[in-house]
Symmetry: C2
Subunit: 324 residues, 2 copies
């Protein structure tokens, strides 16, 4: 019976058929708990959003934002695509305290969860390293801040930034600035480095830069400062769409037309890119595909824990709309 369900060994075709018929008739579904108890696997993985330690406050700008961020939903969506097909449950977890971290490790060690898809939203997060030290099955979204032995998926950040640079240059922009992300995050640093390199290659060794924080307000105030220093600006690259959207607001208030006076390129191709007016030309990250790959890597690792650490890097694409 158990044998025919799991397709193990050679079984008499007649009995196989009989069992299958009975299953079909009864609507039998095996009990996951019982199966888990003996196999030691639960066939469920956690999608954990790890944020700085904080009060569980709804207005908390970090963890609250992480969940409300469309990005999170896109990752969940992509991962689910692979997991549902394989019959694996996706468990949502928010981790923002030492207690929560300990609990997560406990779940893993206890075998309540087979592995973790990790979204870590701040630079000093101890969780990635903790998970690695536990030899847990983990895949990270984005390159880790410290070079630890962890599998991850990422987009080729520098290439994406270069795409933006080349587009701005090809448009004939002469004075181009950038609003970058927090420099203590990989995405912050890489997008800046990639942009600077590409601009330099195209004969623009100097690029004024303001450090933003990936928020709309940050983009707006960053743009104001940039305009103050360099009123003749004719091109801008923002390290994400939200900041680009904020920059658009500042530009409009300053009486600048986009893209005629200033061309603006964002990053992510998030819903903000569509909501902005003019709609943003931006660098697309294939988030759903990346999340799907995360799930694949994790499942493979769970089935064979001797598998090597792997990272998969995806190519970004330039999506041309109205802002540049």
């Amino acid at each position: 019976m158990s044998r025919v369900i799991n397709g193990v060994r050679n079984v008499d075709p007649a009995i196989t058929e009989a069992v299958n018929a009975a299953i079909a008739e009864t609507g039998y579904v095996p009990n996951r708990a019982a199966r888990s108890l003996v196999t030691g696997r639960t066939f469920s993985v956690a999608l954990v959003v790890s944020a700085p330690d904080d009060e569980p406050d709804f207005d908390d700008p970090f963890i609250g934002r992480a969940f409300a961020d469309p990005f999170f939903g896109r990752i969940a969506n992509g991962a689910l695509d692979e997991l549902t097909e394989r019959g694996v449950h996706l468990i949502l977890q928010r981790v923002n305290s030492a207690a929560a971290r300990a609990q997560l490790i406990g779940h893993l060690r206890q075998g309540d969860i087979d592995g973790v898809l990790l979204i870590s939203v701040h630079a000093l997060d101890p969780l990635p390293r903790m998970l690695v030290d536990q030899h847990a099955a983990v895949v990270l979204f984005g390159r880790p801040v410290d070079p630890i032995a962890i599998s991850y998926v990422d987009v080729a950040e520098r290439d994406g930034a270069a795409l933006a640079a080349e587009h701005l240059v090809s448009l004939g922009c002469r004075r181009v600035a950038m609003i970058c992300g927090p420099l203590d995050t990989p995405a912050g640093g890489d997008r800046l480095a990639g942009f600077r390199d590409a601009m330099a290659r195209h004969g623009h060794p100097y690029v004024p830069v303001i450090e933003g924080n990936f928020t709309l307000d940050g983009g707006e105030s960053g743009m104001l400062m940039l305009l103050d220093d360099e009123p003749a600006l004719d091109g801008l690259f923002a390290a994400n769409d939200l900041m680009a959207q904020g920059a658009l607001v500042a530009l409009r208030e300053a009486g600048k037309r986009v893209p005629e006076d200033v061309a603006v390129v964002g990053f992510d191709d998030s819903s903000a890119a569509l909501a902005a007016r003019p709609q943003l030309t931006t660098v697309l990250q294939p988030v759903e595909e990346m999340a799907k790959e995360m799930a694949r890597l994790l499942l493979a690792r769970i089935e064979d824990d001797s598998l090597p650490i792997t990272s998969v890097i995806f190519d970004p694409t330039l999506v041309i709309r109205d802002s540049a």
Copy 2:
């Protein structure tokens, strides 16, 4: 041991303390599978997003949007708040086919999942009724389209719309229009009815209305049509923030100043309200609190399935910003 963990019966305080100390030291976590097997409960509930049957396409406007919608994240966040505290896992599920519905029912009947927090995003969804027919433990976000015996949480839609109406009237608006939501959804119909009633009570029996679809584009084109019919408009209520944001775009292009020429009020207090310029005056739905209550209702129902069907209605609040 089992007794102290589950807080059952009177146990010697000394031994209780000893066990707790050991637990704290070892980082012991009870095995859920084993517990499930004997109790018949899994201590996990599903958060299911039910959408029209569709290809699992990333560009799919419905299910893709549902997950990427910040609303979804806010619900997950609120529910998690209650569930983590009670040690219950939240499993994410996307249901958009007959097969997926059957699978969900199977999980429920098999006891792989104790109950369902349901977000149903379209009018003809058969899932709510199916779940009720199965006597499953379910709580719906928002009033059901058909009057079926299902527990749910909702915001007092009509009161929220009335809040918007009263604000617009108090501002001295004389010619007020509305962009409502799809009339085959409760939120669509109720916000319209509530707004009309309140306007009529304040001496404005006639309110021009355009039906939108809750999207930014819908708000933009709706506003254009409204302006066409009634160029002297001086007030607008949009049934959600996204449409209000779209209306703002159309208004700006038409050369109207907001709020000087036209006052605009939205609904939801979503991130769009903050992203819009001017920032939106809007009706706040306490989504996280609502989701928390959903979790509470569901857990109570799981523990005692003789509990009556319950609905909890939350009061909306007017958040005054710059658009009205």
